[in-house]
């Protein structure tokens, strides 16, 4: 009789142990993805000379193309896509802006490409705009994110989240640059935003972890 009770107790304990093990394993597998991480703003130093301005940028950006932006007195943002060579970007007088971006508070409300084929719809001299921004304390700098021309991260996010309430949003930072932000609680950790980001502004927060 006592042997039978001990056997039953052992079976129950074994069953409980197996259940506990299975529950733990499935918990670990339930959320295999990683959260995105975002590159911070690019620190730039300016050197103005007669007819050109040289921007020194971090060496890690060497060889890339990035946006140099400046706001005018009306609060409209203008940007030019420039190559970085030897850790420097040079904007010369006569380098016209590629894009005009309208913002309202922290929101981007629209944009317009200013060059079509080989002619400019409107010529906005970026050197003069940068000088004006520097002299008058207007916002200017370097932005790596290509929004609003590029929306790949948002499209990736929309492809997994039904409805318009996606965790990833774009906003205008106090420094004037546009950058992505996300709501951690809503993020399903699918990884599409950092997998699809073509310029590396959004990265994997845990790159060493297998997904």
């Amino acid at each position: 009789m006592s042997n039978n009770s001990a056997f039953k107790l052992a079976v129950v304990l074994l069953a409980l142990s197996v259940c506990a093990m299975l529950t733990q394993a499935s918990h670990d597998e339930q959320f295999p993805g990683n959260y995105p991480a975002f590159e911070g703003p690019v620190e730039v130093s300016y050197e103005f000379s007669n007819g050109s301005v040289t921007l020194d940028v971090p060496a890690k950006l060497n060889g890339l193309r990035t946006f140099v932006y400046a706001y005018d007195r009306q609060g409209v943002m203008f940007g030019i896509l420039k190559p970085i060579a030897n850790g420097r970007i040079t904007v010369n007088r006569g380098d016209y802006a590629d894009v005009k971006i309208a913002t309202s508070g922290r929101q981007v409300t629209g944009y317009e490409l200013l060059k079509r084929m080989d002619h400019y719809l409107r010529q906005v001299d970026m050197f003069e705009l940068l000088q004006q921004a520097q002299d008058n304390g207007l916002r200017h700098g370097v932005q790596r994110c290509l929004y609003p021309m590029c929306t790949r991260c948002l499209e990736g996010c929309k492809s997994v989240i039904s409805g318009g309430d996606i965790p990833l949003q774009m906003e205008v930072a106090p420094g004037g640059q546009i950058h992505p932000v996300y709501a951690r609680g809503k993020c399903p950790r699918c990884g599409k935003c950092f997998a699809w980001c073509p310029v590396g502004v959004i990265t994997d927060s845990r790159p060493g972890r297998s997904r």
């Binding site: 060497n62 084929m117 080989d118 590029c150 929306t151």
Partner: protein, 168 residues
């Protein structure tokens, strides 16, 4: 007379059908038959911040030749890099379109001076492309332009980062 015209009509139809058949066969031979439906509306071109004409990528893919020249009107790079990539690349210098070699040898422009491209080989344009997907988003037919660009990038060797090239 009537019989002769009928024969001429039939012959013209046969030639026309052979021509159209060759176009379709070429599309399938290039493994991109969908590219035949591109009707060159240029909606993609107007959305590219680098001034690349993505229709050129479609043509390059259809022709099976990544060295066809396509419009790329807003890529800025040092003249030395342009000449090292392709001396025959067309660049814009003071509203003129000249080759990179001519800009160096005939116009005597400094090699480190920044120029703007005008027409470059499709493989180089694919390397310059930011892959932002604006062209694909604008395409009314939903052609997989990013897929072609990726294929051209992979077939054109190492990336064209500026530090990979000698800029003197």
């Amino acid at each position: 007379m009537k019989r002769g015209l009928q024969l001429l009509n039939v012959a013209a139809m046969v030639v026309l059908m052979l021509f159209l058949g060759a176009i379709v066969a070429n599309g399938f031979a290039s493994r991109q038959p969908w590219s035949l439906v591109c009707y060159k509306c240029k909606a993609c071109n107007n959305s590219c911040v680098l001034g690349i004409d993505p229709q050129g990528f479609v043509d390059a893919e259809l022709a099976g030749n990544s060295q066809v020249y396509i419009y790329t009107t807003n890529v800025r790079l040092p003249l030395a890099q342009a000449a090292a990539l392709d001396p025959a690349m067309l660049i814009t210098v003071e509203d003129r379109h000249v080759t990179a070699r001519a800009a160096l040898d005939e116009l005597h422009i400094a090699p480190q001076q920044e120029i703007t491209t005008y027409r470059v080989q499709a493989r180089h344009a694919a390397q310059f492309c930011l892959r932002c997907g604006a062209c694909e988003k604008e395409c009314v037919l939903g052609l997989p332009l990013l897929r072609i660009i990726e294929k051209l990038r992979n077939s054109s060797g190492p990336s064209l980062h500026l530090e990979d090239r000698d800029v003197q």
